[in-house]
Subunit: 605 residues, 2 copies
């Protein structure tokens, strides 16, 4: 093993007297022992300065060759990120060398000795101060990447957020219950990850996409209030900010309505944001129906940090001389407008980019007006009457420097186009303006219960098949006007990102079977996939509902991180690979033989 | 949908004014609304009595035909376990009909109306009061089984235990970190569950048997104190009380020794037992080295609720005239004895059962003495001198009615035999005697680092390959006397059940590689399976160690349950099947095609 010099011996358990964030002027003169990593090292005229770092902070340790010649030699040689135990005496820093940015910046420790507890090899990239390398390298050396302060801080924030949420829910009488990971495959929605069973050859468990059915079964069991910080799995083609496994705050309660559920979610978010971010959320969160969200923001995930909204200006143009506008109105369409405050300065190229984007979304084009001083500059300017301009000025609160954008299309397309344009405009604004609110929450309610999938020629559940029809649309449901039926389903959106989704559920077995039927599941398939749920509903199931919030995304936003990978200790890359361990890997043939499976070379379907 | 009569309508969200455990004499005269399940129903001269149950308790509701004729009719028809909303007035029970066993036993609610929120089908088995059906039926209808009070209570206990442990560890600066479930296969120890990767055909993730390597990587990352309530997986042939997935309290810390780790575990258990069971544990827990445990109790999992221990009485018999005893001593063996207090009454058949058991464990036989009054009755009685009897009486604290059992064998076999006999004796005692302590913890320390697997002709790690050799045995390790090297490894045993296991770890890459080598892993396999860990250890890894405790077993014992399945919401049966959902199941061929795998019919290897 070749232990030598001041290196630690195998049976040695280094101890500290203080953590590296603790020492202050009041400790001057005390003898202390610290342990930590060499954050940085500078040699200055024979004296060696080491910034020693542990989980809590940094302390400057000074090795004077006249005070401890051997230790100074050793400190001179030691590599960054090695683990040291150091002992010495706390002293005031010489006047003028204090470091106000450091909690311990008024003192330093004059070393009397050191022990190299664990040496560090040459680092693959500089951890502190230097430019960050590509993420792939960081992920390959995740154990080093996590030593960077912001990363450690992210893990701590995650811990504290979940802690706050648990505290709140426990206080409200919720019981955390662990549901199975080795679960049942119900092929719909996203793809399942499968786990071959060795004891039951040819059979498979599935990893849960959510504990949806289990939590409903817990309601039937009379638990009344359940939650779980639950691991979920989706085998999807990974996009930039997706992970094959993710964590959600999963909640379900009996005998509740939407109001109560919203109150709990607002309650635990208030608790978490207050404790962790020091931000006081203003409650209750605003609400928009799905229809309102589309109509005013062109999306079901509106970012309300920016007040910018779409206006229907059809009425203003009821007698327009502009051919395109008139044609749209005559075909039953609408004219919608958005005022991109202060963006009259956009170049023609940028404007043409917007027009191209509109066309790619199915629009015929995109009309615009640059308001330069008092002048309205636009290809359609000559068609605008003074009366129309005045009405627009009022409605859109037009000021010099604004850019007005118009979409004259069917309602759906006009909303979609201006929704996208709005996002683009916001991304420009966000570079120069600080939003009014850093965290803009909004509830989106009353989603459609079904959507018609034209390709597959069948109805699909907008949320999932356990979602309850809106009682006001009961007649439409009975009449089979499924496209018009709203659901008691809701999303929670934060800064334009969906962070939660839920609904009140079907608790009547006949209604559940009928919805399965509408979705094209015949009774045999219903029994095979959901027999246990239908059965459960027939034994006195309480009315119930719930919601699930994505932890990774929520914590990412609270921590101010730019990717969920920065708030997950060991994430996969965008190809689903753990670059640290190399997983997934090939396995021994013997393992497959025992499982009764064989891998098959790829062939085009 | 056919809603009729008093049945709830689709848009109806029933509300309550009180839970069913709340009403007392002070509420008499108040109008209240309750919701819950029909726990039981009795008709008595036209009056219908319903015990209405919710999560919190039970309230008696009375339907008088003259007060509410329609509702009484309805209540008369309603089936047990249906969900009702009931409103009425709180009244004192008629004198003499109070129920002292019920928190609400002094009052009843005179109903004015009811609504059947959700009717219940005919129950597959009676939930309350009747005899429990077989466990398979209970598991098939788990949503009903969990309505039974003891089961709900178990889930609550589990929640509160984990809550207490989290509170304690948070207070000690531990950070909870979630580690991956889609992990890497490292074929050793138990079998891995595998998850085929769709994006990387022919490759597999593995479900973690424990977050062992991830938590060590977190220590290298400088987290210093980590914990996680972690889901783990083992694809083993299931025994009675095993589950393919289970939960553990997983803990790791840097710069610690055994003392500190033991202190934390004792601390969180003290907290949990105090809060949940109202039991004050006496700390610190006793400790035994592995060698002491075997020597005194014949097992590394001694049940210390019973003071019964093995004694080495070789010395007493140094001049024995008993041939078998002398032969054992001459062959370097020992004579060990145990005093089965008060069991002189055992029948000859029971004694012969013990002797057979001893033989099945490799012993030549088992000697016994029944102490009846002053008389020692035994086939070997005539070989015992008065001096020997006196010495035995003192050493074994012999009293009339005791049964002495002797094993004269090699130390290993004598310990094993009397250890088993001790278990048998305790199981008899436990039927008639209450143990001194309901919860007897003991730390077992200093396990051997390696065990030689004779069949495979190689060394195996007793705990796992990341375990640290004992510093006092460093020389033995260097000399290759592996069988003599102890480890810094420890188990926590409660009432004879291992509930925790841990160790201090290897943090030096050279030492880790050498241990892998001793275990027969050549450098190529080391790199393939553990390259990431070896690499991590070379970048300034702190000395660290940890422990993991089994949650299911711990909670089972705290709840006084007899199987871990009773403290798991949705367990699998002993064949790994979830009888509720029918998982594991066959899956669509299309799913397998996408994953690039095929199932293979079973052939003998």
């Amino acid at each position: 093993m070749g232990m030598k010099g001041n290196q630690a011996q195998p049976g040695f358990f280094p101890k500290r007297t203080h953590h590296c964030h603790e020492l202050r002027r009041c400790h001057i003169g005390q003898r202390v022992t610290l342990i930590g990593w060499v954050h940085s090292r500078r040699d200055h005229g024979g004296v060696v300065f080491v910034d020693l770092r542990d989980r809590e902070g940094i302390t400057q340790v000074v090795f004077h060759p006249d005070r401890c010649p051997e230790a100074t030699q050793e400190a001179h040689r030691v590599r960054e990120e090695s683990v040291l135990q150091v002992w010495g005496e706390v002293a005031a820093r010489p006047p003028g060398t204090e470091n106000r940015r450091l909690a311990t910046g008024e003192i330093e420790v004059n070393a009397d000795g050191l022990r190299v507890v664990s040496p560090c090899a040459v680092l693959p990239f500089p951890l502190h101060g230097g430019n960050l390398p590509g993420e792939e390298l960081r992920l390959s050396y995740r154990f080093l990447d996590l030593r960077r302060r912001p990363m450690l801080e992210n893990l701590r924030i995650r811990h504290r957020v979940l802690r706050a949420i648990r505290d709140y829910l426990d206080g409200q009488g919720f019981i955390e219950v662990e549901t199975p990971i080795l679960s049942k495959s119900t092929p719909e929605g996203a793809r399942d990850f499968l786990v071959p069973s060795r004891l039951h050859r040819g059979c498979f468990y599935a990893l849960p996409q959510a504990p949806q059915q289990y939590k409903q079964l817990l309601m039937v069991a009379g638990l009344e209030r359940y939650y779980q910080i639950a691991r979920c799995f989706r085998d999807e083609d990974l996009r930039a900010d997706r992970q094959p496994e993710f964590t959600q705050i999963d909640l379900e309660a009996s005998f509740v309505d939407q109001e109560e559920l919203f109150g709990w979610v607002e309650g635990f978010l208030e608790e978490a944001f207050g404790r962790v971010c020091g931000v006081e959320l203003s409650l209750p969160f605003p609400r928009l129906s799905y229809w309102e969200a589309i109509d005013r923001y062109g999306t079901e995930k509106p970012d309300l940090r920016w007040p910018l909204a779409l206006s229907d200006v059809s009425e203003i143009f009821s007698e327009t001389g502009c051919k395109i506008f008139r044609a749209a109105l005559e075909q039953g369409g609408v004219i919608k407008a958005i005022n991109a405050k202060g963006l009259a300065e956009l170049s023609l190229a940028q404007l043409e980019g917007l027009i191209e984007e509109a066309k790619s979304l199915g629009a015929g084009g995109l009309a615009y007006v640059k308001v330069e001083g008092k002048e309205w500059k636009s290809p359609i300017a000559r068609h605008l009457t003074e009366k129309e301009k005045e009405a627009l000025s009022q409605r859109l609160e037009v000021e010099p420097g604004d850019l007005l954008l118009f979409s004259a299309e069917s309602w759906e397309i006009a909303c979609k186009v201006l929704g996208k344009i709005r996002e683009r405009v916001m991304s420009w604004l966000s570079k120069s303006h600080i939003p009014k609110e850093p965290f803009a929450f909004v509830w989106i309610t009353d989603f459609p219960l079904f959507q018609f999938d034209k390709e597959a020629n069948r109805w699909e559940a907008t949320h999932h098949p356990f979602t309850r029809p809106h009682p006001e649309d009961w007649k439409l449901f009975e009449e089979g006007q499924y496209e018009k039926v709203r659901a008691l389903a809701y999303d929670l959106v934060l800064n334009g990102v969906e962070i939660g989704s839920g609904s009140l559920r079907v608790h009547e077995p006949e209604l559940q079977a009928r919805i399965f039927q509408i979705l094209g599941l015949d009774p045999m398939i219903q029994e095979k996939r959901f027999g246990h749920l239908l059965r459960a509903l027939s034994y006195g199931a309480p009315p119930h509902g719930g919601i699930a919030l994505g932890v990774d995304r929520l914590v990412m936003m609270m921590a101010g991180a730019t990717t969920i990978r920065d708030v997950i200790a060991f994430p996969k890359n965008s190809a689903g690979v753990d670059l640290l361990t190399g997983s997934p890997t090939e396995v021994e043939l013997e393992q497959l033989r025992e499982l009764g499976i064989r891998t098959v070379p790829y062939r085009e379907p």
